[in-house]
Every structure is written in C-alpha cells, then in structure tokens.
Symmetry: C2
Subunit: 418 residues, 2 copies
Amino acid sequence: MALIVQKYGGSSVATPELMKKVAKRAIAAKNEGNKVVVVLSAMKGETDKLLKLARSVTPEPNPRELDTLVSTGEQVSVALFAMTAQSLGETVKSFLGFQAGISTDDNHGKARILSADPARIATELAKGRLAVVAGFQGIDKHGDITTLGRGGSDTTAVALAVALGADVCEIHTDVDGIFTTDPNVCRDARKMEKISYEEMLELSSLGAKVMEIRSVELGMVHNLKIHVRNAHNPSPGTIICQEDESMEKTPVRGVTHSTDEARITLVNVRDRPGVAARILSVVSKAEIVVDMIIQNKSAEGDGNRTDFSFTVPSNDYDKAMELLGNVLNELEAEKILGDDNIAKISLVGAGMRNHAGVAAKMFRTLAAEGININMISTSEIKISCVIEKKYAELAVRVLHEAFRLDLPPGENGGTEDI
Amino acid sequence: MALIVQKYGGSSVATPELMKKVAKRAIAAKNEGNKVVVVLSAMKGETDKLLKLARSVTPEPNPRELDTLVSTGEQVSVALFAMTAQSLGETVKSFLGFQAGISTDDNHGKARILSADPARIATELAKGRLAVVAGFQGIDKHGDITTLGRGGSDTTAVALAVALGADVCEIHTDVDGIFTTDPNVCRDARKMEKISYEEMLELSSLGAKVMEIRSVELGMVHNLKIHVRNAHNPSPGTIICQEDESMEKTPVRGVTHSTDEARITLVNVRDRPGVAARILSVVSKAEIVVDMIIQNKSAEGDGNRTDFSFTVPSNDYDKAMELLGNVLNELEAEKILGDDNIAKISLVGAGMRNHAGVAAKMFRTLAAEGININMISTSEIKISCVIEKKYAELAVRVLHEAFRLDLPPGENGGTEDI
C-alpha cells in the first residue's frame, strides 16, 4: 500500500467522457490498496476562454482579479470529478487551493507556494476516501486567491505529495514519459525508465515541455519520486529520482533541440569592466530573457575590443535588436549583428561531468555532417551548440545515433566509446 | 452621503457591455458622495450552463460539489466587474462569499446565512473604494462553499446591507419596480412608490417574482429600506419599508394572479381527528407543497363525512392525484376529484385587516362578471379566490378597476368606496 498523488492535465479531463476515464483510473489505483489524491488542471481550453473573457473588458486585467477569474477553471474540474467519481460509487470530496491548505505569496499570476497544510485531505485519506484537489491555485495571507502560473498544477501535486509524505507523485499527461529525444524528429527515440532530477531540470529548461520546472526542483529538494506517465496508457512511464550508478555510467542521456531562439552579436565593443552588465541591462529592462552568453576578444582590431554574443527568445528578437541598435554609441560598439535562423542542440546527462570526451565527440559528429557550430555553452551536465536552423533535426538524429541513445543504459557501451 | 448596497441580477450583467453599464452606474452613485457596495449574480445563462454540465456527468450531482461548481458563476461576474471598473479608473476589489464573511449553515443548495462579517468590505469603504461581492454564496463551518438557492443574491445583498448598517439596499432588476398588478395583463397597472414588507411578502409568495422572499423577511426584521428599481433606468422604483399611515388608508394595494396551481378534492372523507394530517402527509412525503387548504362538511351523506380540498403546483398535480388515488381506501374517502383548469386571484393590502368590506366587494365584483368562486382563503392582509382559469385576466382587470388601483394612494377614495 502506497500513498499516491496523481496529477492529470487539462487534455486528460477535457470532456465529461475523459473525466470519467480519469476517475476510473484513480479509483482503480485506490482499489489496489493505495491512498490516492487526485490533482486536476482546468479542462482543456477553459483557461484560455477565461483569459479571453478578461481581455474582452480590459487589455490589462488586474492580476488579483484575473486570479479570481481563472481559478474557476480548476474549481469546475474538481467539482465535476467528484460528481463523476460519486456516480461510480465512490465517496469523494473536492478541495480548492485554500481548502487544501496551499498558502502562497501574493505575487498574483505567478505565486510561489509558501506552505502546504493538507489536513482536510489527510482526514479523507484516513477514512479510506479519495480526495480531489484543484491545481494551480492557492491563497495568500490576505485571504485572496492566487494562481501559480501556467503548469502550476504540477507544483500543487508535488507540494501536496511532499506535505502528505507520499510515496510517489504521478504526473499523468498525454505522452508516455520522458524520451531520449523528440520522437517526432528521431524515430529511434527511446522512453527512459529513469532520469535524475538534475537531468530533468536541464531537459525542462531546454524545451521538453513535459514537466513544470519548479515542481521538479521541489521534488529534488525533498527527494520525492515523480512518475511521468500517459493518462490513457497503463504502462509505466519515466521515474524522476535521485541519480544512481546506472545513470553515471551513461554520460549522455538525452538530446534536445530548440528553434525558438535568436542570436545577437555586438561587434567590437570597447572592452571595459562592466561592459557585459551594461549590454544586458538594456535587454533585461525590457523583461527579455537572455539564455546563452559568450564574450570573445575580437580577432581583428586592437586588443581593447571584444565581440559579445547572446541568445534571446525569437519573439523578443526584433525588440532586442531595436533597443540595442538605439544605444550602440553609448555601448561603444562598432555594429550589431543578428541571426534568427539558428537552432540550439543540447546533450544532457548527469554522468557527463566525469567525461570530458563527450564534447569532443559531439563536435566531431556534427563536423562529419558538415554542420558548423556558431556558439558553444556548457554546464556540469549539459553541452549546447548553436547551429544553422536547417540542420536542427539532422543534428538530433546523428547525435542520438552516435551516443547510441536508442539502446537502454548498460547496453549502449556507456563511456567506452568516447 | 449614504451607504448603499446595490444588487444587480444576471440579466443586468449578461454581457461585458452590460457589465460596463452597471459599473458606470455604481461609480456614478459613488461619485455622488456615497459609499457603494455592489452584489452580483452570475451572468445570465451561466448558472444553467453549469447545471447542465453537472447533469452531463450524473443525474443526481452531490449537493456539496454542485455548490462548488455553480458558485463559479458569481466568481466570474465579480472578477469581471472589478476589471471593468478598474478599466474605468476606479480601484475596486472583488470578494467571494467567504471573503465577504458570509457564514451559512451546511444545507448545500439552499443554505441559510448565519452571520455576515464584512470586515474586509468595511475596510475598502473606509478607503473610499468600491467593493464588489459575489452573491448567492457563502461558506459553512467546515470551510466548504455553499449556495443560498435561486435568487439568493438578494439575500446576500440584504444581509450585507444590514451588517454594514447601510441606508438602503437597492435591488437593480429588469423591471421598473413593484406594480399594482401585472402590466402585461392590465394596462392600467401602476408602479407603487412604496410598499410594506408584509405586502411584499404576500406578493412574492403569490408569484410576483421580483424579490426573493427570504431577503424581504430579513429586511423586515432589521427595518432595512429596500429599493427595487430598473438597472437601466435612472428613475426611482419602489421602496419596500415599514407600513405607514398612507398604506393603511388604502386597504387594497395590489392584485395578483397565478395559473400554475391545480385543485384536488377528496370527497366524503370520514371525518375523524387527524384526517387532514393523514391526507397531507401522503402529499408532503413526496415533497409536494400544498398552498390553499379547505375542509368542508359534505352537503350530502351522513354527518361523519367531509370534503377536503387543497391546491398543489400544476407540475405536481398528476403525481399527487396518483399518490392519493392509491390510498383512497386507507383514507376512507369516497372518491377523488381534480381540476387543473384553475387560477388563483389575490388582493393584497396591509390596510385590509381593518376593512372587512374588501372581501364583500371582491366577491360582488367577480359575480357581476359571472365569474364563479370555487375556493376562498384569507390571511390578515390577503384574500385569495380560486376561479376558472379562462377568467383569470378578466378578474385581474375588473378588480384593479373596482379598487381604483390605477390611482395613487389618497386619490383612489381609500376606504370610502367599500
């Protein structure tokens, strides 16, 4: 017998029929002898509908009122779920954020959970009953309704699982688990049985949009097992857990690609202390997020000059180019170059930190296909390269093959091949 | 400067455009120097949509969950109102039932307000701000969301007005006020300036569906002035207040008619103690509400027999006939007669209690038109007659004319004519 928190996303409860399938799945888990808490998102499309309604009255809705409005989406979901489960013979109570003891700060629209005190839910579980909780929402110290931002239902599920001392938090979604790469790009992509929190964090931030990043962090801090699985497929998915020996032996675990960034280069900037800060403050004041940053002495020109490159989201590319173009003189830069025809390819793996050979093999593999590398950035468990956009999918496939990610860990040669 | 609670019904806030009109009206009242609290219903059609959604998953939704579901209707309204008012330059906060301190019992779907503690609203008013409150909802001692039943937003408004010590509770609706009779039936129907709580209660229960009955009772207990007026018409409507001298001088204040009742007669029932209770328990067990009740010794038969008649809602007529038909022997009744081709015509007036002549004049007026009276029942401030349905509208018109309800009090001859 285990205590399981099951989170279902909006597409899993999009219609009353799907809601019934989900209710049956939760009841089945309970009938296997487990204590089960269900966390739900709004039915697919509902949140967008509410946002549209808000924008129909004002272009900039007040954040507190917007939270009161959009939190009705999850409220509808949990009430319907409880009714559905009751029609199947279960005694079930729904709990809104404030009823589930989800306390947050008052940063409306992207509130952070301060504490979870699910006393009422524990009472229901002790009575042998299912409980269903509205994800994405909480209450602040004023007694006002807050929301946790898009994907916040994952965070609700993990926070409740931690507070209840759950054995596992299951994230039921519309994919079978976490894959070595995008199956739409590479048909050899393989579902991983396990992945470490750190690897998942890198994958999340690189655009594998399966899990909300804060919820992975929270799970990592509390060493909570997270099981990402398909809501409509009984097979196991991928367990996110602490790094173990098998992971260390496999330096590269996944390949990701992202084509929604653009590169900006300031050429021949006068190289003085604080130049990077001055450049980036122009961009960050406009709330544009910078990802990769590279500073390089200019090959040409005098020794006091440097080239400064970074990437921004494609959506913000035009704005960033304009903002920087306006202050070229101030920045003492010769000119600005931009390129939104790029892709970022990354290798992720917790075992990588001990194997310097991974980078070399990555560069060799790309070079063999005639793919030029424009930028490189590395972290402990990640190597990213910026390449020309048209090569993105090819690069994913050749890297996936070179590191034998199609084979399960232990069968793919581990570090031998590097 | 006054403290005003303004309640707007669902048709007044049915669209973002109407919501804006309502917001402007509330802001105008505030700009006249008043403290203003707005109470809203769900946007027209929303509650029905939510009920339909519930029934799509189960024919008998759990009442607690149904309250969680349908309360989202008012939640959406108040958030949208606040956004709208803010887009017009006002600082406004929305409050849900639990945030407005509306505590109720846990009788889900028709909860009663136990107390109202609108401390947060008082704080907003003290800051010179508008506050908008979700009607129809509260919270019980478990921390669960409750609803007050259809029309419950009126009760929310009155309860808040009482708790805040408001000068007046304005019920903004889609009619101009309370009329002497249905303007669709009688073109001489006149809007009343004032009406007493008692008269309004009789009118409410007789089918003048302008005000929710519990809210009138609550206003009466606390002597709160209630102003029923048109949401989209600046002219004054009708004030519901304590009886005054002018009302006493006018014995009849309104004529109502209802055609949604049916009459059932048990003929030649053995007249023993408890016979009425036995008959009515059959009906009340099926949750059928009985209105008029008349017991009459049979003209024919022995002295131990009586006829027993009562009226039930037309919707429950077939069921009541069947239930009673099944137990005729038990009830020691000879037979059962039914008639769903009836109408109930009532005269209401607080001054009536001192003027026995009203009944006589009513009967004379109906007789003069050849209208036969089947049943009569009276209360202190009401006389009702059951007649054949086809005469309903004629009866309303001739009574309205006979009692000169087309003229304002003081000009209609008062009691002189009776």
